[in-house]
Symmetry: C2
Subunit: 236 residues, 2 copies
DNA sequence: CGAATAGTGTCTCTTAGACACTATGTC
DNA sequence: GACATAGTGTCTAAGAGACACTATTCG
């Protein structure tokens, strides 16, 4: 950026920068997002994405990880990726706030930790929240929508889907991740073939998982590959 | 975001939000970017991306369009797309500044307009700037690099390439856009077939362009389609 | 004419996806 | 046995890209 003629930020009204985090997880085969219930105005009683102010000594990503931990009790997940900035003048009725959106994946969300903001944290199905335009306060509907789009793209081009799974998982677990995030039904056989053909996507552990209803599946762990090339295209 | 225990932004040190704009254009078959020469510290004499403070009454995109006009004399282009936010605490030595990056495409960059900051604006080849890590001040090397990546993806999935061209253009003009942005050589025949097969990418004007060395090409204009599906994949 | 660029067609290889079939567990 | 899920294979259609060939201009 360039230096304006007069370089005095105090000439501008107070302005804050926050981060908002869209934490995705999968429960019962459905894609869910972590939200907090707002106890104060504005939007009291509404849901909102976890987030908060960026502190002077931390960068944006660090702020996102810290806020996430404070509000959901999670340790900062591996995948915490920025997807956009939002700065409409009136997006927060209290003051001018520019927020930077991050999205994250966790296999399981721990029980809320008492004594912190996290007490009010829970997960809700993404589909439900997006179906209703004002289920979320502020412009969080748009932010969630953008994050979902971003996550869907990520599943096409990267191996992040394994982050939704436990350390050891069956191919069908992975398929359910894709089905939940993309909101589609995938062919079981084709999916299996494709995943196994992609180099470094998953690695066999040699274990099987019993106790289920059908043939016990072989278990895999995440492989070293980060990107899927050619992309695993989402059906249109 | 949530409301912290004490909601007082003045508790935090001054913080500013700016926008930086990466304006791509193509000259002599090479991808170039608009930069300004810095006349003041820090980074005096270095190059930097155009940009500036977000004003209280405008949103981020508006700020980007305004700064672009002020510093390059361009009217705000059709494609002005956000690609990331940058907020490391020390990314600007003067104070804490969070900046939001936008990228834009223009067919031709007008001559700099005197009397404004634009007097110092010019274009430089992207390849040259990226080859040298400190040709740009601040973290603008990283920002430019991210913008380029973003633009490359955009060419795969959208029809923005037509925005680099004049109102009427030959298929080979469009091919040169892809070649410049992707830094590859594309097969002439295959490119032609492909573009014409994609519904709504280009529309015939009925005109031809004479005066060149070979067979005069038919001229087209941008079609109504915004996305290319399936994507036009970049060779790897 | 030859060089240069535009436009069209052909062939092959790869991939996506529909779908059939086999394997192995529970009830 | 029926049923459910896992794992493998086969076929077809579509797309990518190498490449040949024709068309049309200029010098």
């Amino acid at each position: 950026m360039t230096a304006p003629a007069e370089y005095d930020p105090r000439a501008f009204p107070p302005l804050a920068v926050t981060v908002d985090i869209v934490v995705f997880t999968i429960e019962d085969g459905a894609l869910k997002v972590a939200v907090i219930e707002r106890g104060e105005e504005p939007y009291r009683g509404s849901l909102a994405l976890p987030g908060g102010f960026v502190r002077p000594d931390e960068n944006l990503r660090e702020a996102a990880g810290r806020e996430l931990t404070e509000e959901t009790g999670l340790h900062s997940p591996e995948h915490l990726e920025q997807f956009g900035a939002y700065g409409d003048p009136d997006r927060d009725p209290r003051m001018r706030i520019v927020t930077v959106g991050y999205w994250a994946i966790v296999p399981d969300l721990p029980e809320p930790v008492g004594g912190t903001d996290a007490a009010a944290a829970r997960t809700v199905p993404v589909a439900d929240v997006l179906a209703e335009t004002d289920a979320l306060g502020f412009d969080h509907h748009e932010i969630l929508s953008d994050a979902l789009e971003y996550a869907r793209d990520a599943l096409e081009n990267t191996t992040v889907a394994t982050d939704f799974c436990d350390d050891e998982f069956a191919i069908s677990d992975l398929r359910k991740v894709y089905e939940a995030v993309w909101d589609v039904k995938l062919d079981q056989g084709n999916f299996q073939n494709k995943v196994l053909e992609i180099d470094g996507f998953v690695e066999p552990t040699g274990n099987r998982r019993g106790g289920g209803r059908g043939r016990p599946p072989e278990l895999f762990r995440a492989g070293p590959a980060a990107r899927i090339d050619p992309p695993f295209r989402r059906p249109r």
